[in-house]
């Protein structure tokens, strides 16, 4: 079986100033329906293998301070 490719369609980024916030890390892990965010000891960790599962629900954008989470659609270059 060929290697799995990640982040082919979607790219997710969390600004450094909130990525270390335990409350945000917990919230992002809780809201994402496809487990893109992991609360790694109070830090936000992006689970690369799940990024392409993003359903564009915007729950992560609402869970974090405005502009702190970026979800980009690589196939058309737009950002949520």
């Amino acid at each position: 079986m060929a290697d799995q490719l990640n982040k082919v369609f979607i790219e997710v980024e969390v600004d450094a100033q909130v990525a270390n916030d335990p409350a945000i890390a917990a919230k992002l892990e809780e809201v994402c329906p496809v487990d893109i965010f992991k609360n790694a000891g109070g830090q936000v960790e992006i689970v690369d293998a799940n990024v392409d599962e993003c359903v564009l629900c915007k729950l992560c954008l609402e869970a974090a301070p405005a502009g702190a989470v970026h979800v980009r659609k690589l196939y058309d270059g737009t950002e949520l």
């Binding site: 079986m1 060929a2 799995q4 392409d52 599962e53 196939y75």
Partner: protein, 405 residues
């Protein structure tokens, strides 16, 4: 799900329908003991999930327990149409006065179970219906309300059966209809239903099939009463690597549903298809336009990207597959963009160009605009609902045959 005769006999018995004193055996010694217990002539029947037992030598008569053991030993080694028997059924050779047919089938048009009865049993009911239609009585029963005996009586009386025969056959057909509904059967058949020389009625042979989707909720019957193992899916052939791989991908992820079958498929066009009967329609549409499917599949229930990708990869990795056609009826909960991501990812992970590999992508419905954007980036033709399933299948066939699409 199909049942062996000995299991069907048990189901019939559990429903309160009289059966002969039979025994299921897996060794000649057991057959000898059962024959001795029955006493008198017996019949030994191979327990295989295929027809043509009698012609293949899988049904033999014995007058003594020793003869029964000898026949059982031979039948247990006898392969019939590629099937080795699960065991043998030892049954008394009944003194039959007349054979009848009693059956219940699912009427897909009426959406209700249909009782069938004939006073010409022991032969195919289809044959009787064709040659002697006046000897087949019919009657629908409710999906919801209790099934009264009189409805069965009407169906039987329509064949001209009357008197004590009518009175004795009526509860049998009514019970058969009840067991059909209660056990989620798609077919419940007693053929022959025998009237013995003493006037009693017994089921001499039974054939049952259960709706596959009902297996989960019929555990009491399947595991409890019949002792059927959970992994005993009764497929008439061994699963291919493709089928096993698709089943494993499906089981590993709760999101959505995928199925893949390739038994008997040897074509070059892989199919990633589904939605509301779409799989069967699309497979037929491909075949009827000269295409050669490499597999059958079903995808739906809003699968994850990984699951759609997994199915597409397995299809693409099958020997002889040149392109895949991704086609569904109209989807509502399954997202077009998620399936698009999955099949494109499958191509990329296998080092294939999606634009060349995906002959057509025809999935109209939820999130189709987003799906179209993804496909456009990778040069894959997207078809919405303005392209019929027939036309989409035709375009896929044309592409794989090298004709201008």
């Amino acid at each position: 799900m199909r049942f062996f005769e000995f299991e069907a006999r048990k189901i019939v018995e559990l429903a309160g329908i009289p059966v002969t004193k039979y025994g299921f055996c897996t060794t000649p010694e057991e057959a000898r003991a059962v024959a001795a217990e029955i006493g008198g002539p017996v019949v030994i029947k191979s327990q295989v999930l295929t027809g043509g037992r009698m012609k293949a030598g899988g049904v033999k008569f014995a007058d003594t327990p020793e003869e029964a053991a000898e026949h059982a030993a031979a039948i247990l080694q006898l392969e019939i149409n590629g099937h080795m028997p699960r065991g043998v059924l030892v049954d008394p050779k009944a003194e039959v006065k007349q054979e009848y047919y009693a059956g219940v089938v699912w009427d897909g048009t009426a959406k209700r179970p249909l009782m069938l009865f004939s006073d010409m049993g022991g032969i195919d009911i289809e044959e009787v219906a064709r040659t002697h239609p006046d000897h087949v009585g019919r009657g629908h029963v409710s999906n919801l309300f209790p099934i009264p005996d009189f409805e069965a009586k009407q169906a039987i009386a329509a064949t001209g059966v009357s008197g004590s025969q009518l009175n004795r056959a009526t509860p049998i057909l009514a019970r058969l209809a009840r067991l059909f509904r209660e056990n989620d059967m798609t077919l419940a058949e007693i053929n022959p239903l025998a009237e013995l020389t003493d006037g009693s009625f017994v089921a001499l042979d039974a054939h049952m099939e259960m709706e596959n989707e009902a297996v989960g909720r019929q555990k009491r019957l399947l595991r409890g009463e019949l002792g059927i193992a959970e992994d005993d899916d009764r497929e008439p052939y061994e699963h291919s690597k493709f089928e096993e791989a698709v089943a494993a991908i499906d089981a590993a992820d709760h999101r959505g549903v995928i199925q893949g079958k390739d038994h008997g498929f040897t074509g070059n066009l892989g199919l990633v298809i589904g939605a509301g009967g779409g799989s069967l329609t699309l497979t037929d549409a491909v075949r009827n336009q000269g295409g050669k499917p490499a597999n059958y599949s079903e995808i739906g229930g809003n699968p994850s990207v990984a699951k759609a990708c997994g199915l597409a990869k397995e299809v693409l990795e099958k020997d002889g597959v040149e392109k895949i056609a991704v086609m569904m009826s109209i989807v509502s909960n399954t997202r077009v963009d998620i399936v698009a991501r999955g099949v494109i990812k499958a191509c990329l992970e296998l080092g294939k160009d999606p634009g060349e590999t995906i002959a057509i992508f025809r999935i109209p419905g939820a999130w189709e605009d987003e799906g179209e954007k993804i496909l456009a980036k990778y040069g894959v033709e997207y078809c919405d609902r303005s392209v019929s399933m027939w036309e989409a299948a035709g375009r896929a066939v044309a592409k794989i045959q090298g004709a201008p699409a």
